[in-house]
Symmetry: C2
C-alpha cells in the first residue's frame, strides 16, 4: 500500500496513516472485510517503525472502523456509508488549465434521448431513436458457445496482443464476405478497428489536420460531425435529395474549398435512408480523382437491402486507391463487439496502421477470434437474408402506420433498405422542442438537428429507426407519435 | 451482390458480370463451394435481364470456374490459386495525395524485434524484448469460466454498448483496488479505456494541439514518443538519474518552454526501472501547480514492488485535479484484454469522455464485465503477491547472470520493482547495431535508442525484460548475450 506521508508535517506519522485509512473506509472505497496490510508489511512499505503502524491501527480500532482477528490480521468493519467531500470539485481550488474545460458539455447523444424517454414516466416506452438494428435478433447463446470453443482452442493466445492489423483469419474472412457482396480486395488491405467509429476516426486523423476542410453530406451521421468538430476540421455540407448527395453541386465546392477528404454514406444513408444513384457514384469518383481528394465511404448497412437494384460500392468502382472503405459488424450483429474494418490500398494503409498502434496498440483479439469463428460467408448471407425479411416487414408496418396515424402534413420517402425513415414534421414544428412531449406519450426519435452541420437548420426533421422494434410496438409507437403531434399542434 | 457495371461501355453486360466473378474466383476471394446468387436474384439485384446473368454463368461454367447443381444453384469450383495483380499498387496510377504517405514507414516496434529473433534461425530463441510481464502466468482457464458465467448471466446485455464511461461495477471495483493500494478516488472520476495506450492518447489529444510542447522523461516509453510525434507535438526531454526525473532541472524547462503537459512514469519507469524519490514527487507537484501545467502519471506497473519503501502515487499527493492518472490491467494480467483506465477530476473528465466517444464510441463491454467478475481486491492482491515473488526471483537470477556472463564494462542499476533492467553496453558499442548478432546467438532485447527523443542518442543502452521468461531461460539468455557481446567486441 502506497500511503502519502509528509515527514515535515507537524501531524505525527501514525495520525497521517490513520487519517488516510479512515478516509478510505468512510468513503466506502475500502469495503467491509477488506484485510489491511500486516503491520510489519505496511511499516516496511512506508519506511516507518512498526509501532507507528500499530498505533494507527489501534486508533482505527478504537473508533470502530476496523477489528483485528488474532493471527489473521486487521479487517475493515462495515460502516454506514458516509459520502465524503474528498474529491468534490471545488472550483476555487481548480487548476487554471482545468477552467478551459468547464464550459464544454458532454455532447448530447442518442443514449441520452433514451434516458429522457425512460424518465418521462410512461409505463411502456417505445424508442425509435436508436442508431443500430435489433440486438434481440442476435443469437447470443450460439455466440457464447463459439467464444467458449475459441478460448479452449487458442487459450493464452486468445488474450495476447496479436497482429497489429488484426487477426489474420478474420481479415481473410472479411475478404470472402466482401467478395460475396461484390467487392474485391485482399487481406493485406484490411485493417481491423474498434468499430466503424474508430475507422472513421483513424482515416480523418491521418488525412487531415486542424482547420483542414472536409466535405460531408448535409445531413449526415451525427457522431461523425461531433468527431470532425472535435478534431478542429472545417465542415462543409453537400446538399442532398432523394438520390443522395447532389454530386452536380460537388465540383464547385471542390474548386472553392480545396477539401482534404469527402466523407460519404452512399448506401441507405444515415439519417435520410437514401441511396446514391449509379450515375452519381461514377461522377463522384471522377471528380474526386480530378481534384485529387480521397473519398471515405462509410458502408455501415450497405448490404441491408429490401428491394430495388444493388449499386456497387464506391470502393468497387475505384481503380487505384482513391476510396477508403469502412465497414462494421457492430450495426448489424452486436454493437458491443466493437469490431469494424478499413479497406485501404496504397501507402496510406501503412500510415493508418501506424496511427492505430499509437492510439490503442490493438483491438481485443478474443472478440476477433470469436467473430472469425462466427461469421462465415454462409452464416453472413443467412443472417442478412433473415434480417432483410424481418426489417422489410417492419418498414412496411411503420410506413402504413405513418400514413394512418400521422397528419397528412408530414412527409417522408420510403427507404429501400437500411434502418431509417427520415420524416419532416408539419411546418413550424421543431423535432427537438417536440421530443419531451413525445417522450411523455411514450415514444422517442432522433431529432433532425443533430445530423446537420448547422444545428439551427433541419429542426423540422426527425429520424425514426424502423428496424429496432417488433411489429406490434411499431404500430403502437407511431400511434403515440401521431397523438403527440396533434397535442403539439393544439398548443401552438 | 453489388457488381459494378458500366452501361455505357462497349463490353457487353454479361461479360462485365462474368469478368467480375472470374476475378473474384481466380483471386481466391470467392472460395470453392461458395454458392453464387440465383440468376433471377442477381438479375434483379443488378437491374439486368435474367438471360444476361445466365449467359455470364454459362461462360464461367465453360471455363471450369463454376458448376451448376440441378435445383440447388451454381457453385464455385476449386481453383489452383492464382495471385492476381488486381490490387498491386501501381505507383503510376496512385492518386497524388497517396504519395505523401509513401515515405512514412511503419514504425519499428517490439513485435518486429521478436520477428527478427524468430527469423535469425536459432532453434530455441529467448526474448528479453517484451514490454509486458509473463502472460503464461495468467490463469486463462479460470478466466474462460468467468467469461462463460458472465455471458450466461448478462446475455444480450454483455454485447451491447453499455455506459460510455465504462461498465459501472468495474469502475467501482477499480476504486476499491486503488484504495487497497493507497489511492483514494470515486467511480465518477474513472473512465475505462482500450488499454493504457488509449488513455495516454485521449489525455494528450484533449490537452494539446499540434506544435504544443510536452515534457517527458528522457528516455521514456517508446510508443508514447511515437504517439506524441504522430500528433505533431514538440517533445522536450527531462534528464534522469537513478532517482528518476531530475526535478531540479524542471523549473527552468517550465519557464523556457511553457509546456501544456508533463508526461511521467514515476514508478519502475519504462525503460530505466527507476523510482522517483519522495522528495522529488512533492517538488514535481508544487512546480506543476506553480506553472499551471497538468501532469499525466502513467502507473503501468506501480504495484509490482519487490523491496524498499512504497512511494505514494502522484495522484494521491494531488490536492485538486492537477494530476491525471493512468492505470492498466493489460501489463500485469493479459495484454489482449485491452482494458485500462483514466482517473481524472474536474471539468477535464467530461472532455475526455466526449473525446473517447468520438474516437471509438465505447470499449467492449463483454471484456469489462468478465474483468469485473475476475478482478476482486482479494484476487488482485493475491495475484500481485504471487507475481512479485516470481518476478523478484527472476530479477535476481538475471542480475547474477549479468554479473557472471557479461564483461565488467557493462553497467546497470538493480531495479526494486517492475519489469526492466536498463543496461549500458561497453563504450562505442551500439545496441541497435548489435541486435542482429544477438538474435543470431538466440537472444533479443529492446535497443535503447527507441526510448530516446533524439534517436541518435542512447544507442549504447538496451532494455532487458526480466519478468517475461522462466528462470532457466534467463540464465541461458544472458549467457548468449555475453557471448554475443564478446563476438561484437572482437569484430571491432
Amino acid at each position: 500500500m502506497r500511503i502519502p506521508l509528509d515527514r515535515e508535517s507537524a501531524i505525527p506519522l501514525y495520525q497521517q496513516i490513520g487519517g488516510h485509512l479512515r478516509n478510505a473506509i468512510l468513503s466506502g472505497n475500502l469495503t467491509a472485510d477488506t484485510r489491511l496490510p500486516a503491520c510489519r508489511q505496511l511499516a516496511n512499505d512506508l519506511g516507518v517503525n512498526r509501532t507507528t503502524v500499530e498505533n494507527a491501527y489501534s486508533v482505527l480500532e478504537a473508533d470502530g472502523l476496523v477489528f483485528s482477528r488474532m493471527g489473521s490480521g486487521t479487517y475493515v468493519l462495515p460502516q454506514t456509508f458516509i459520502p465524503t467531500a474528498l474529491k468534490q470539485n471545488n472550483n476555487a481550488a481548480l487548476p487554471l488549465w482545468q477552467k478551459s474545460f468547464q464550459h464544454e458539455e458532454v455532447n448530447l447523444n442518442l443514449d441520452m434521448i433514451d434516458e429522457m424517454l425512460q424518465t418521462a414516466g410512461h409505463p411502456q416506452p417505445i424508442s425509435f431513436a436508436s442508431g443500430i438494428s435489433d440486438t434481440r435478433q442476435f443469437p447470443w447463446e450460439e455466440f457464447r458457445k463459439i467464444l467458449q470453443s475459441v478460448m479452449r482452442r487458442d487459450q493464452i493466445a486468445a488474450l495476447e496482443y496479436g497482429e497489429r492489423s488484426g487477426y489474420a483469419p478474420l481479415r481473410e474472412g472479411i475478404v470472402h464476405i466482401l467478395a460475396s457482396q461484390g467487392l474485391q480486395t485482399s487481406s493485406e488491405s484490411i485493417l481491423i478497428t474498434a468499430g466503424s467509429q474508430q475507422a472513421i476516426f483513424l482515416v480523418s486523423q491521418v488525412l487531415l489536420k486542424p482547420n483542414d476542410i472536409i466535405l460531408v453530406e448535409n445531413p449526415t451521421y451525427s457522431v461523425a460531425i461531433d468527431l470532425f468538430r472535435s478534431l478542429g476540421f472545417q465542415i462543409i455540407g453537400i446538399p442532398m435529395d432523394n438520390q443522395g448527395m447532389q454530386v452536380e453541386k460537388l465540383e464547385k465546392l471542390l474548386q472553392q474549398h480545396h477539401p482534404k477528404l469527402i466523407y460519404t454514406i452512399p448506401n441507405f444513408h444515415n439519417p435520410t435512408g437514401t441511396c446514391l444513384s449509379g450515375a452519381r457514384r461514377r461522377q463522384l469518383i471522377v471528380l474526386a480523382e480530378r481534384y485529387n481528394v480521397p473519398i471515405l465511404e462509410d458502408d455501415f448497412v450497405g448490404d441491408l437491402r429490401y428491394e430495388g437494384h444493388a449499386q456497387p460500392s464506391l470502393k468497387a468502382l475505384d481503380p487505384n486507391g482513391q476510396v477508403i472503405y469502412v465497414g462494421t459488424f457492430s450495426k448489424m450483429l452486436m454493437p458491443g463487439l466493437r469490431v469494424g474494418f478499413i479497406v485501404a490500398d496504397g501507402p496510406v494503409y501503412g500510415s493508418l496502421l501506424n496511427f492505430k498502434r499509437v492510439s490503442d496498440l490493438a483491438t481485443s483479439t478474443l472478440i476477433q477470434r470469436a467473430l472469425d469463428a462466427y461469421v462465415t460467408v454462409g452464416r453472413y448471407q443467412t443472417y442478412l437474408h433473415r434480417s432483410s425479411q424481418t426489417f422489410r416487414k417492419r418498414r412496411d408496418v411503420m410506413v402504413s402506420a405513418l400514413n394512418k396515424y400521422l397528419p397528412s402534413k408530414v412527409s417522408f420517402d420510403i427507404p429501400s433498405g437500411g434502418l431509417f425513415i427520415w420524416l419532416r414534421l408539419p411546418e413550424s414544428m421543431f423535432a427537438d422542442e417536440f421530443l419531451p412531449l413525445a417522450c411523455k406519450e411514450g415514444v422517442s426519435f432522433a431529432p433532425g438537428k443533430f445530423f446537420f452541420i448547422d444545428k439551427a437548420s433541419g429542426r423540422e426533421w426527425l429520424r425514426l429507426n424502423f428496424a429496432s422494434q417488433p411489429v406490434e410496438d411499431i404500430e403502437e409507437g407511431i400511434k403515440r407519435l401521431g397523438k403527440a403531434i396533434r397535442k403539439m399542434r393544439d398548443r401552438k
